[in-house]
């Protein structure tokens, strides 16, 4: 079978003489001799070469009790063609050119549509192309190129500057910058050294890296992203149901309407046979179920594809539709609004001395807050003293001996002398800001305070402000006490705080919010799974390679809250586009069919079958074009 493109060009070439004849009649140019017979020959050729496929598939569908686009084109052109042969033999007016031009235009429309649909689905192709074919394996000190399928977990791999990283892993040696934009949407190159995670398919830029493969095959981040995008792009949106139901009965109904149109014109309005037939053929040809059928899938494809490019994975059409109706956005606190890693915010007392002692002790402790203190000391390049006699007093703090003196970090009552008044005031003040405060003591006396807090992500404040601007009600749900929660909430400007929530109750709190409107929950996926599942839309934030794929309806690959704004914006824009497409496809048929049927003929508004074919061709092409425009729509961030 010939390609659509070839069929179109052949049909167009063969139809050109008939176009000339039409123009010649209009402008009084010399006409083609025996024009009707020439038209018969040319149209017959067009029907055979370019139009046969329509008749073939229409017939095959008919045998299955089905009717589709091809049915309409086949019935429309065959009617025009056969009637014209009859008319030719009886020396009456013919309209071969209608059949010819319907085929030309329908093929043109299909050709354009096909091209644009390929464009619309390119996001998965783009992702698949990121997949690396070969990897450089390091074995016994030698390097060897191996196909990616042969790489196993635990293999040591090498990547040179300018090469793509083969699979997800952890760097063990080397130093380089890696461009991860193709996966995460993060435009800045990221520095990598021993201990950092790398993602397969990303581009190594400046240096060599050696890394150990941690995930291979379909477990890699790239493979999972491809899977999600594929699912999303073939999924349905609930709004589509009505359109599908209409499309199901559309063609037979149009055929019946066309018969009725013919009967009404011929029998009741006493029109000539040719005139009545023209109206019927126009009606059949202008009707376009395809525009209805592709209104949703193409927009969904472009919308989810564009989101994926930004590192935002929208699981399916249903999620997208729900996401466009969201009223409340609830956030988990730790790890979502905040960095999830406590940092030292204040050191009170003699800074260097206090921090040196505290860090020295805490370097031996395993307490979660100890790391923050040690890191602060490292950042200030302090040398940590040697500690002897280290003791961990559960619930109290830690003690040890430094330079012959007993030192402690923890509750102030570990000191034998009461805490100084000024320090006590300071401590209360810090605590009321929601910070965790530890006292540093030396020789039985509190000499300083150290305050620790989980700080908001740099992106949090701006993102929440933007959400509020757009009319969302923002909520923070956390297990922290009211004070600590309020302190963070104030910093980022969140509307409502629900504090002291036991981990198991988060889902219930989300349910309460749902009574006030459609609710999204943003969490980091691992411990928030029940809340993510309960919410109308669960938005899982993955950090690095640990994408919480299963839990969320929307997965954000980057750890930035700005992506929540982006995700909701894309969902809204895409859904609006779907509605616009469906509206256009419906309205087009609702207006087009009556015009073609000659309802407005009394006022001189009529459509020839050829024009009807042109209109039909562009209705579906314009729907695809409208979907493609989503690629350039402005996304809020």
């Amino acid at each position: 079978m010939m390609s659509i493109k070839k069929r179109f060009w052949l049909a167009l070439m063969l139809a050109l003489p008939m176009l000339y004849d039409m123009l010649a009649m209009f402008f009084n140019w010399p006409m083609i001799p025996n024009g009707d017979w020439v038209a018969l020959i040319l149209t017959t050729l067009i029907m055979l070469i370019s139009g046969r496929a329509f008749v073939q598939s229409a017939w095959a569908a008919f045998l299955h009790h089905h009717a589709n686009m091809d049915t309409l084109v086949a019935v429309g052109t065959m009617t025009a063609y056969l009637y014209s042969i009859y008319a030719l033999l009886h020396h009456q007016g013919v309209f071969f050119e209608s059949a010819a031009y319907i085929i030309v235009f329908v093929l043109l429309g299909q050709y354009l549509e096909d091209k644009m649909r390929t464009q619309a689905s390119q996001s998965t192709t783009r992702l698949l192309q990121l997949q690396v074919k070969n990897a450089t394996l390091i074995k016994d000190g030698q390097t060897k190129e191996v196909p990616i399928e042969d790489v196993k977990i635990g293999d040591r791999l090498l990547v040179r500057p300018g090469e793509k990283i083969a699979t997800d892993g952890k760097v063990v040696a080397g130093h380089s910058t890696v461009n991860e934009s193709m996966i995460t949407g993060e435009s800045m190159p990221i520095e990598k050294q021993a201990g950092d995670a790398v993602i397969g398919g990303t581009l190594n830029q400046t240096g060599m890296l050696e890394y150990i493969a941690e995930k291979v095959g379909k477990d890699t981040m790239l493979a999972q992203i491809v899977e999600i995008v594929k699912h999303a792009q073939s999924s349905h949106a609930p709004i589509q149901k009505l359109a599908d139901r209409i499309a199901d009965i559309f063609v037979p109904v149009v055929l019946m309407i066309a018969i009725a149109v013919f009967a009404v014109w011929y029998v009741f309005l006493d029109a000539e046979l040719a005139k009545a037939l023209t109206f019927a053929v126009s009606t059949i040809v202008i009707a376009c179920p395809c525009a209805l059928g592709i209104a949703t899938p193409t927009a969904l494809m472009v919308g989810t594809g564009r989101a994926a490019k930004l590192g935002i994975l929208i699981k399916n059409g249903e999620v997208l539709e729900t996401a466009s109706h969201i009223k409340n956005v609830a956030f988990d606190k730790t790890g979502t609004i905040t960095l999830g890693q406590p940092v030292v915010t204040d050191v009170i007392g003699e800074q260097e001395q206090a921090l040196t002692l505290a860090a020295g002790l805490e370097s031996l402790s395993e307490h979660p807050l100890a790391g923050a203190i040690v890191k602060k000391a490292q950042d200030q390049k302090l040398t940590l003293p040697t500690v002897t006699d280290f003791k961990n007093l559960t619930g109290q703090g830690v003690t040890g001996i430094i330079n012959g003196q007993t030192v402690f970090v923890g509750k102030p009552d570990l000191a034998s002398q009461p805490i100084a008044k000024t320090l006590q005031v300071k401590m209360n003040q810090l605590q009321s800001d929601g910070k965790t405060v530890a006292a540093i003591g030396q020789a039985g006396k509190v000499i300083g305070l150290i305050a620790i807090q989980d700080v908001p992500k740099p992106s949090a404040k701006a993102a929440i402000e933007k959400l509020k601007q757009q009319g969302y009600h923002t909520v923070m749900i956390t297990g922290d006490n009211e004070q600590a929660a309020q302190a963070i909430a104030k910093q980022v400007g969140i509307d409502e705080v629900i504090a002291s929530v036991m981990p198991g109750d988060k889902a219930q709190r989300v349910k309460n919010l749902q009574n006030q409107g459609v609710t999204a929950f943003v969490g980091d996926g691992i411990n928030d799974a029940p809340a993510l599942a309960t919410a109308d839309v669960g938005i899982a934030m993955g950090s690095g390679t640990d994408v919480a794929i299963e839990t969320g309806g929307i997965v954000l690959i980057k750890n930035s809250l700005k992506d929540v704004v982006r995700a909701l914006s894309i969902a809204k824009k895409t859904f609006a586009r779907i509605k616009l497409n469906l509206f256009w496809a419906l309205i087009y048929n609702l207006i087009g069919i009556p015009i073609a049927a000659g309802v407005f003929a009394h006022w001189g508004i009529e459509l020839s079958p050829a024009l009807a074919g042109l209109a039909m061709a562009f209705s579906s092409a314009s729907v695809v074009a409208s979907s493609l425009l989503l690629n350039v729509a402005k996304i809020d961030e």
């Binding site: 079978m1 598939s57 091809d70 299909q110 019946m256 009967a263």
Partner: protein, 125 residues
């Protein structure tokens, strides 16, 4: 007289369309051929004006392969989409195109052409 005849034919045609397209025309479901060792199961699906068979019964847990053979030249049937399985593939004309179907969960999975006009379903049980 001729007009009465035309009217009569028109009414009959409309009635015929209703009967042919909207009447009940059941198609039989086809079960897959399971290989002797239960290692795989295959069904050939002809794509020509629809899917025949359009209802395919697969055995749960046995890896399945649907061999689509598209005879139909129409671009309408050019793609086949399994929305629940994330499958959206182009079917080359007059060639066998294999699609592997996940049979790990029992249930009914619909499939359709790219424009959702032609339907079929896979029943896993």
């Amino acid at each position: 007289m001729i007009k009465v005849l035309v009217l009569l034919i028109a009414v009959l045609l409309i009635a015929a369309i209703i009967w042919w397209f909207f009447g009940r025309h059941q198609e039989k479901a086809v079960a897959a051929d399971v290989s002797a060792d239960s290692q795989d199961q295959k069904v050939k699906v002809e794509v020509n004006g629809g899917y025949s068979p359009s209802t395919i019964v697969l055995k749960k847990g046995v890896p399945a392969e649907l061999d689509f053979y598209r005879k139909d030249p129409s671009s309408c049937l050019e793609r086949v989409v399994f929305p629940d399985m994330g499958i959206n593939e182009k079917l080359p004309q007059n060639q066998l195109h294999q699609i592997k179907v996940d049979t790990s969960k029992a249930g009914e999975y619909e499939f359709a052409c790219g424009m959702n006009m032609f339907h079929g379903k896979v029943i896993v049980k």
